[in-house]
Structures are given as structure tokens and as C-alpha cells.
Symmetry: C2
Subunit: 496 residues, 2 copies
Amino acid sequence: MATLNPQVKAVEYAVRGPIVLKAADIERMLQQGVKQPFSEVIKANIGDAHAMGQQPITFLRQVVALCCFPELLDSPVFPDDAKQRAQRILQDCGGQSLGSYSASQGVQCIRQDIADYISRRDQGVPSDWNNIYLTTGASDGIMSILKLLVSGHGSSRTGVMIPIPQYPLYSAAISELEAVQVNYYLDEANCWALDVEELQRAYLEAKQHCQPRVLCIINPGNPTGQVQSRKCIEEVLHFAYEENLFVMADEVYQDNVYSSDCEFHSFKKILYEMGPEYFNNVELASFHSTSKGYTGECGFRGGYMEILNMDSQVNSQLVKLLSVRLCPPVSGQAAMDVIVNPPEEHEPSYSQFNKEKSSVLDSLAHKARLTEQILNSVPGMKCNPVQGAMYAFPQIFIPPRAIQEAQALSVAPDMLYCLKLLEETGICVVPGSGFGQREGTYHFRMTILPDPEKLKVLLEKVREFHLRFLEEYSHPEPQLNICTETEHRETSKQPN
Amino acid sequence: MATLNPQVKAVEYAVRGPIVLKAADIERMLQQGVKQPFSEVIKANIGDAHAMGQQPITFLRQVVALCCFPELLDSPVFPDDAKQRAQRILQDCGGQSLGSYSASQGVQCIRQDIADYISRRDQGVPSDWNNIYLTTGASDGIMSILKLLVSGHGSSRTGVMIPIPQYPLYSAAISELEAVQVNYYLDEANCWALDVEELQRAYLEAKQHCQPRVLCIINPGNPTGQVQSRKCIEEVLHFAYEENLFVMADEVYQDNVYSSDCEFHSFKKILYEMGPEYFNNVELASFHSTSKGYTGECGFRGGYMEILNMDSQVNSQLVKLLSVRLCPPVSGQAAMDVIVNPPEEHEPSYSQFNKEKSSVLDSLAHKARLTEQILNSVPGMKCNPVQGAMYAFPQIFIPPRAIQEAQALSVAPDMLYCLKLLEETGICVVPGSGFGQREGTYHFRMTILPDPEKLKVLLEKVREFHLRFLEEYSHPEPQLNICTETEHRETSKQPN
């Protein structure tokens, strides 16, 4: 341990952190017949749709299976549009095989399909496939761009602005790269909106001790579930233009918008609408993924990024950096292709594809409302509307005595809360401290992915637990030590 | 460019470097009808078997296709053993779907299959699946381990010992991590053997300016194609034990051994045979991949590492680091499973599987001999036997006038040679300077992957070119400037 990379030591990643290790321990005990006050562990800690029972989109899997085993191209079981997609992808693969390395930026026709998709999505805003890079999930793209942009020492070190609460990939990458994390706080009282004045405050403060050069935005929000307004995005882009910031727009939830009064606006489209002075100057990378949306294909590790206005020399450096890892998984690239190039109205798979897609998205919208409603009905809990993405991030009241106990155990108060929730109910959620939150406030993140019946049961259990917790910590006696082996192995701390 | 990460700038990766970008440019010109002195570009720069026409192993693709599209489990087209493999993998996936995230270390039953495979391969040496980690190709595993182990500043910075010539992933990772590259030279006169005295020399010299803590070995060798003897491996492990070095054994070519007088010995097996004092103490990570061997499934980005004797706290840090990237592609994990768990004698796919496997390996063995023979018949060229892996790395004589010209153009002499080879013949190989070589010697790396007929033509063209090159540079007049746009974009330098 003494000679371990200190940047690795500094990394924290709550979504798969100590509480999830503990959940796995409990699951193992259940399998071995050790009795628990519940019959199963429900993992609401991670946006892993298929693990929660969501079925794959048939057309996507057909195309990937055909690419894997092209003998199936002769099979009458597969529809012609799936076969055409597969043949087209294979034609652009070396030796027409999914087993060849692709170019480091990805298979050419898939990059072209992505550019076409972006242009359709953004109502005609041009997209050049040369600016598209396939990635190993969005995380890989985000890491690569951050790696490229971070430099300097001391007060010239690169500052990376991230929202608080944030998805902890960002803080983990910043630790690993020894960059400076610059927090801007989302406005919980205003539905987690991004206030440009808060951006300015964070920027000016950071300028005193680092060089803020990168601005990360997650829209729709993770863990916060807000969908940013057109006006807000315009203000943010104006700010980035003024301060010459590289904008990283994490838009992996672009298909996950549920509130009828919200709409997804891509940062790129708004930038275009702001005119050529903006569109030709602001450096922008937008990230997408096969893992979220209505497909939920996390295991394929598919994703892409579109990069605008990057200096051509820097761009060569990026290509070089990507080439060391050779290429993103080609099956994940094929999955990405289906998402950007779905069946068209005249094609045989159109109707089934749309039925499956709507079914997933309608169900998510229903569960988003259900979650918000039930959580808001619990005394001492307050949840903003889940406008998009896949998570609720309720604020929870933690009684002072519980806070004292947590401090005595050197764990964050909401970690104590989530550990007790797991131990008493089998429900695994992630403490707000793993995402960052305003000091003195406490939250947890839970996914809305379990099927509606299970979700209802889960939410009822959360309610009962919460009431019990409040009750328990209004008592005067000291509590038992609940700190476990797992925690000792890897103690969680608040990122800031 | 001014604020770019300097560690990224320092990275070099010749296998996909400027010469490969130039090859792509020429290929594009050919497609557009621009005349060249050849009709196709032959990419002998990268070990990409399927791109060179090798056919996938049917059983592997069947299993992965079944995992992708489980409706096929009812199809009579697929053999029962493929179905059983697929069902078994799916049962260990969340929601029985390839679309779920796996644990960061990989799908449990696949880790178990890998441990069983290792134990069979090593004639009964125990292997614990808890020590197995699935990776996104071997590169990802190598990067992760290096990232974990590198620390310190100035003379306490971690030194990483690598062979020269090396596979440039190592030098690239070392640059990216700002570690200290410690070169030990393989003995070209002795079939690229690893001499432990040379290791000692390099170690002692390095001790004066860094802390050598990691020893990387590539066996069978890339780019050098040697297969290390049992005796050599034992000496290396003894040395690592004495100096407390973490051994990284890149064994991705373990199935690619062609010389009848050579045998693959895993570092782990030898360590075991050296007795418990060694087996329980030397820290060892061994890497394998789906990309090489007889499957050549590069595009799936599958791989694993087995790690021995890692401190448990360091191990927790590794798991945390891996968890930020969530998981390796699950389809690549499934492909890895087939390699370690192939059809058994009593199973329906056994005979076809073995026929396909032998066909690939026999052909590679034939091509290894062919390449060595023809290259050695060229005046001014000398090639060690290709005992294993997929590459020949001949030493080439470059006339002094060509060296002067290269110096005037600020390119390495073997880069000049390879650029001319590409421009005149369409053959793309990688200059030895991209791998490292003893000063004053020049080489190139070429794969032995093209089919035998094409390979013969290629080798004949290389011979003709080489003779022409020698002839040309024995003339007195100065040559034309052959430096191209591609080179200006990204000038190649010798890594050392």
C-alpha cells in the first residue's frame, strides 16, 4: 500500500462502493441460507435496466447476433431490415468480421449513421462524421477527453467544473488525473436547475487557485433527474464562450425525458442556434451511450462522442491516445448503430421496434411519477420531480442523534442511513455523499428501474424504514455499533 | 496545444502511428482511382487476423450469438454444446442478459472457467477464480496494473522494466503515467533470448535514478517472436524474487508457438515449480486475450488477467479502480469463456472446433517458417526464427546515405525505409524504431497473417524493394524529399 499510486488511492466511486460490496455480501449469505429480515436484495444502486428485468429491444439483438454469426443471414427467422443493417456494418469491418479491430475512432459507416442521427435529432443542424468517435461506453469517452485536457502544476493546474450533485465518474477521473475539482451547486429548491450565477461564482473562486478550463454538464441530470431548459443551456454556453471553457455535455439520458413540460435540447443544437460566432468557436464534446435510453444495453459497452471545434493538432493527439487502446468493442459499436439507425416506417421491424421502445419509455415515465409521489408522501423526505434520466434523489431528514452516531463511526450520516436501510430491508441505494451535496443536507440515489409492482413494494419499505429510523433516533439511548467489516475495508467519505 | 496534457503528448504508439495513417491515405486515394504502383495496400502492421482473411472459429461465434439473441436457443441450427455454454453464461448475467453490467471483475462462471483452464494448462497448478479479472482486451489489464503501481517523484519514481524491442503499449502507458522506462535489451544474436545478466545491468543502472518496481515480460515475444526457455523464466523469476519486483507476464501469444523445439511455459507454472517460498511471495500478473491465439477475435475486446500475491488492501484499490469503468464488454467475456472452455471430446462441436483450430495454427506455423526463410535469403536482411507470436522482426541493413537522408528529414532511418516500402509496394509494416532497438541497428515488424499465397507475393516484393533500396542509396546523387503531409502532422521519433 505504501508505494501504491496515490491518485488511485484518492479515487472514490460510490455507485459501486462499500455499500454495494456489502449488498453482495448479504446476497451471498442469503444464498447460503443465512436468515435475513428479507428474502432478496434489491439493487436500486445502479442504472442497470436488464438486471432489473427490462427486456432487450429485439431488433438490436437481431442485428448484433447477425453480425456475430453471419451464417444467420440465410435464416428466415430474421427480418430483412435487420439483415441489411448487419450486412452494412460487416461490409465496413476488416475481413467483414466483427472480430477485426476497427479504426480507433470506430467503424466508418457507424460514424456516418451517428452523424445522420444527430442531424435529424437536432432538426437539421449539420454533423460531420469525422467529428464522431465511438467509445467503450460513455465513461471511456469522458475519461479520454479529461485525460487530454488536464495539465499544469500548482495554480496553473487545470480546473474541471462539475455539478454538485454529480455522477462520481467525474470526481473519480479528476482524482485519477490530479486535476482540480471545481464544484458548482445545482439548485435543489428550483428543481435542480443550473443557475449561471452559481457557475460564475464557482469559476471566479477557482481562478484563484487553478485554471478552470473544462465545464461538465449532465443533462438530463444524474443523480438529480432534472431536464435543463433551453434558456439555461443558452446561458451556460454563453458563459463557456466568454470564459473559453471546453464544454463536456453528458447527454446519455437524451431519450429519457418523462415530464410533459420538459424537452431534451442538445447543447449542440442550442449552440448552433446562437449563431456562427458561437457554433464555430465553443469547444464542445457530447457523449451518448447504449447503456441508458430505452435499450439499456450496459454490458455491450457502446457509446460515442461528437467533438466540435477541437484544434486539429489536439485532435491528432486524441486519435493517438485512443489508438493505444486499439478500438472500442465492435459489438458495442454495432449496438450503437441500431440506436441511431432504427427501423424506418416502411421496414418490417418498425412496428415491433416502436412498440418495445414505447413500452420501456412509458413504463419509466410511470415509475418516475410513482417514485416522486410516494417519496414525497413520507414525512422527513422531499423529492424533486424525476423529469428525466433514471433516478430519484430525495433529500432526507437525518436526526441529530443519527448524525452524531455516524460521526462517531467515521461514516457520512447518509451512509449510515443507507447501510441500515440495506441491512433492514435488503434495498441497496447510494448515499448522497457519494455524489456530493450541500453541507448539512442528506440524500440518497435510487433507480426507478424495478418493475412497477416491485417498485411500489420497495418504496413502501423505504417509507416504513424511514419512519422507523426517525423514531429510533429520537430515542435517548445510544445505538449499537452497526459498522461492519465491509466498511472497515473501504470507508466512504464525502467527496467534498 | 499549449495546455494539452504533456503526458499525452509524450505518448507514442507506432503500431497505429504515422505510417498507418499514411497507408489509410493511400488506400483512400486508390479507392478514388488515383493511380499507384500497386493495386492494394497490404496491412502487415498489426496482428489483426480476421482483417487478413482468417475465418472466425464457428463454435465461439455460435456461443456469442446465442448469448446475444437467446431466442436462438430453440433453433435446431445450433449444436447443444454451444447452447449449454450460452445458457450457463446467461445464468450468471444480471437478468440473464448480456446487456447487464457484470461485476467489475467479470462474470463469475467465466472467472471460474478461466481458473480451471489455467490449472489444466499448468498441469494441475492451483488457480483461484478470485484472482481472475476479465479485461477489455489485454491492453486494458496492463494499463490498469501499471496505473496502480506507479508512484513517487524524482528519484523515488517507479521504474518499469521493459524489453527492448517491446510492444509499444508499454512505452505508451509509461509515458502516460509519467513512470520511468527502464530498458533491458533482448539478445538478437541469441534468438532474442532474455539474459538475466542484462536484466541485472538495467536494474542496477536504473536504481540510481528511480525505483524499479515492475518487470514486464512478453512471452512469446512481440515484436520478436521468441519463446523463452524454462531455464530463462526460472532465472527471471528468481531475479524478481530477489529484487522484490512485480512481474507482469504478457502471455497473450501462449497458443502461438510454432517451432517444434519450443514450448510455452507460463510464468505461474514455473513459479509454482520453484517452491512455496517463490509461489507465495512473487507478485505476478499474467495477461491473456481473445485477440490472438487461434481465435483472433480482436474486435470483441476480450481478455483476462490472473494476479498472484497482491496485498489485499492493494487488491481492494484495484477493484475500486476497475469499478469506475463499470465492467469489460460482456460479449468479449463470453468470447473469452469459449477459449478457456472449448468443446470436449464427447461433445458435438469437438471435431469441427479442433479442425478449425488446427487449421489456423498449422497455417501460422507454415507462414512463420516461410517468412523466416524468404527474409533470410535477402542480402542485407537477417531474421531470427519466428518461434511464436505473429510477427517477424528482421534486422535490415540501411546504407549510410539513406541514414543521412533520414536525419536530414528528421525521421528514423527505418521509418524512411518503411515509408518508401509503403509508397512503392503498398506494403505497410512498422519500423523497428517504434519498438525500440539497439542503437545503430534497424528493423521492421511485419505480421505473418496474410494467407500463404499473398504472403509469398508480399515477401518477394519486400525482397525486390530491399535490393532496389540498397542499389538506390549506393548512388551518389541526393534523393528527392519523400516527407509527406502525414509525417508533418505527427512526426515519429525513436522511443529511446
